[in-house]
Symmetry: C2
Subunit: 481 residues, 2 copies
């Protein structure tokens, strides 16, 4: 391996692999540096094991939780081995195990696991170091009883009573899965509700579904301490401390921390904030020339699919710098694999409030359980499509779907938003019967029903508020995950 | 009720209800004539009971087939009662029970169930009489053992061994459901494969899934006779007669016949063929002035969602005749609720072959089981997305998806086809990870990988074949369902 290559990629997770494999297959010599496992979070501790667990929990239920967890590890290890072998077989791509840090212009120093260091240089350096679970301390809790979203898959059996600290996406997904595997599950969240980043209506449906399944949902509550003798987790709400009995494991899922320490970012002139991540432009360039960043380490991405999409842009920017990177960043959807699933596309409430006057936005809400025949045939308890659109024009701003396989339904909206399509276009689409997607027809119907009979008023409102200042303060860069 | 109204609708199924309710809610006096039940096939013998059965079979499995069938009837009857009450409560809408026939210009005669006739007149007459199962005779088979897709829901228990004559959409959907409820199931089809109207690749996946579940699939075979004493159904293949043992019920699902007899179509000047149905233009107008047709009775529709879409067009044409009905008919998707589901959008193979030279069409095929991470986490056995697109431009012509909830995934393609979007547009969409929809990304990737490195050749081929005559003969009007 040469010590001077075309591109160095730090981190072999989803984003880093996309860049490294993409450039290598275009014939550019690439060195990929990884401190732990090829595949990063997604393969090793994230999407792959968690979605396999969700599937196994669905299929095996409480009959065989140990088998479900073993199958999760088997599939994860098999995929890791396959990906490692595949990466090793790619021409122009060298994998180095070690911990990297930036060292001056176009140089990277790698601390090798066997000791010693190695210095490499490259024209382009791509930072894809990702993130890790944020940890907290719980007085009295032995380390062996504390789990993260990474270590939970190592359990030989489902816990008797799993307390989950944090009701975000990861906490909620694992709550459903472990409950289906037979564990008693309690969620403890400081905020007023689970899934704080989702619309309250969507979060309420998921919370109701959790409660229907017997998951304890304790919001507005913090964790206080643990008593080993009685296996009691004490939680605190409004100054009152109450017990959760017989808790044998505590999963900490209170957010994630970007892996930015000891990278030498400041010395290399890479602008970042410890809280917000590395700042990049739409082509993935940082403030330091020749240094790029993708994935969880940046301000904008918290998903495998967005890390991949950023990686593709960086490949294009490095390999074909004369080709303009398309103006806006693509519309990143989100998917929460709860039961039912929650998927979103377009702007969230904060972004809409920061850009549009509230009187310009019309919200349409269709109850999938009550208003679709698929909801009737399938005994759906709760489900919803919520669309925020510009009045009169029907241009779609933001969408939330709560339904089984919402993650598959959302892409129609991602395409529509990306193309600037309006609800009039969705009105002309014919949806198969009977599906939950026919709820999209009802969204469009409702918009037309509210708009067409009052065209004059809608036009006046549109003209009046089109350029009106929003009431909400201008948005700050995303705080990340 | 007046004997002279604005519009008479014959048939209270999906298409007829859409027209009747639509016009009545716009204040036009409507008489709706129905010989049997409000809701038509969809509510009473079609989508609603069949999809409820599929769902019940999924949830209850073989533990409680009698309960599943009873629940199907309960939900069907509840919906029928609700719809009947709702129709009865709509202003400007009168429901008459009876059998209608056209009688000269703008006149309809209704044979009433209590005897006698009643003559009504209207400016507009809409025919929405639908279709019914095609019947065949099986020598030796007692009538009590013969089922149709209508009568099967009346069974008190799952059959011991159900033979299904006809491996089309209805036969295949019911085969999966009844197998899950514990019946032994055998499909007998004269053609070379099940799901003859779908792509061979898609049909092969469904056939393999049927066989995996222990459903007997006998293709190239006809039904010969039945011996009551031994409960044997004899089937004939290549001149050989072989037995299917212990068959207690035979479901005939060999297609559907339009309800066009005794309607007085010819005398009224309505052009139709007994095989192809009533000919309409895109606004639903027949060859006779003031007479419209929608739904299964026409040449173009065989689905609830297409009947509804046609109904909307007729409402627009009748209520707002000055508003042009949008040029092309919308893109009608199809959905087959097999396991996995099969969904299609755009042109089928015959239509593509009739309009384009084969050298102009590029087929992309992505194996969802092997090529997506969701296929990996979910242990998917088989699944596929097949897209036919114009070379170079990537304009999408036809799509088939075989996957769980393919019926929800297809609408992205319906929108894309309707808007003339290309695979380049789908390439720029970010799909949530991990989903089967990320296979759509792989379709677009594959198209670009085959196109971009060979742009010159693709351009030459495009220019050469763009206006070339197709090789296949021009298409005939659809034969219907």
């Amino acid at each position: 391996m040469r010590d001077s290559v075309h591109t160095i990629v730090i981190g072999a997770g989803s984003g880093g692999l996309t860049v490294a494999v993409g450039l290598a297959s275009l014939g550019r010599p690439v060195v990929l540096i990884e401190a732990r496992h090829v595949g990063g979070d997604c393969t090793n501790v994230g999407c792959i094991p968690s979605k396999t667990l969700i599937r196994q929990a669905e299929v095996r239920g409480a009959h065989d939780p140990g088998g479900a967890l073993a199958e999760v590890r088997r599939k994860r290890d098999a995929l890791r081995a396959r990906e490692t072998a595949e990466v090793g077989a790619i021409g122009h791509l060298s994998l180095i195990t070690g911990r990297a840090r930036l060292a001056g212009a176009q140089r990277v120093v790698v601390a090798l696991p066997e000791g010693g260091e190695r210095t490499l240089s490259a024209r382009h350096i791509v930072i894809a170091t990702g993130a890790r679970p944020r940890m907290i301390t719980i007085p009295g809790l032995p380390a062996a009883r504390m789990l993260t979203s990474e270590s939970i898959f190592e359990l030989p059996q489902a816990p008797h009573h799993l307390a989950i600290i944090g009701g975000g996406v990861i906490g909620v997904e694992l709550a459903f899965a472990m409950r289906k595997l037979g564990s008693q599950v309690s969620i403890v969240d400081r905020g007023p509700r689970v899934l704080a980043r989702h619309l309250p209506d969507a979060a309420a449906i998921v919370a109701a579904s959790l409660r229907d399944r017997g998951v304890g949902v304790h919001v507005g509550a913090g964790v206080h301490s643990y008593t080993e003798a009685s296996e009691t987790l004490w939680i605190e709400r409004d100054g009152q401390v109450t017990p959760l009995a017989e808790v044998d494991y505590v999963l900490v899922a209170v957010g994630r921390v970007r892996n930015l320490e000891d990278l030498g970012l400041a010395a290399a002139g890479v602008r970042y904030s410890p809280h917000g991540g590395i700042v990049t432009d739409r082509a993935g360039r940082t403030s330091a020339s020749g240094i790029y960043a993708v994935g969880d380490a940046t301000t904008t991405s918290a998903f495998t699919h967005s890390a991949n999409a950023q990686g593709r842009r960086v490949v294009q920017q490095i390999a074909f710098p004369w080709l303009p990177v398309r103006a806006p960043e693509p519309c990143y959807p989100s998917a929460t694999f709860a039961d039912p699933e929650v998927a979103t596309a377009g702007m969230d409430q904060r972004q809409i409030a920061a850009r549009y006057h509230p009187a310009l936005v019309r919200r349409i809400r269709v109850d999938l359980a009550a208003q679709t025949d698929r909801g009737y045939t399938d005994d759906m308890q709760r489900g919803v499509i919520i669309v925020d659109a510009v009045r009169l024009t029907g241009v779609i701003l933001g969408v939330t779907i709560v339904a089984p396989r919402a993650s598959e339904m959302i892409s129609l909206f991602t395409l529509a938003i990306q193309q600037g399509s309006s609800l009039y276009a969705l009105y002309r689409v014919v949806y198969p019967y009977p599906t939950f997607s026919s709820g999209i027809q009802k969204v469009a119907d409702a918009f037309l029903r509210e708009t067409l009979p009052a065209l004059r008023g809608e036009l006046v409102a549109y003209l009046r508020y089109r350029w009106a200042r929003p009431i909400a303060p201008a948005e700050h860069p995303a705080d990340g995950f």
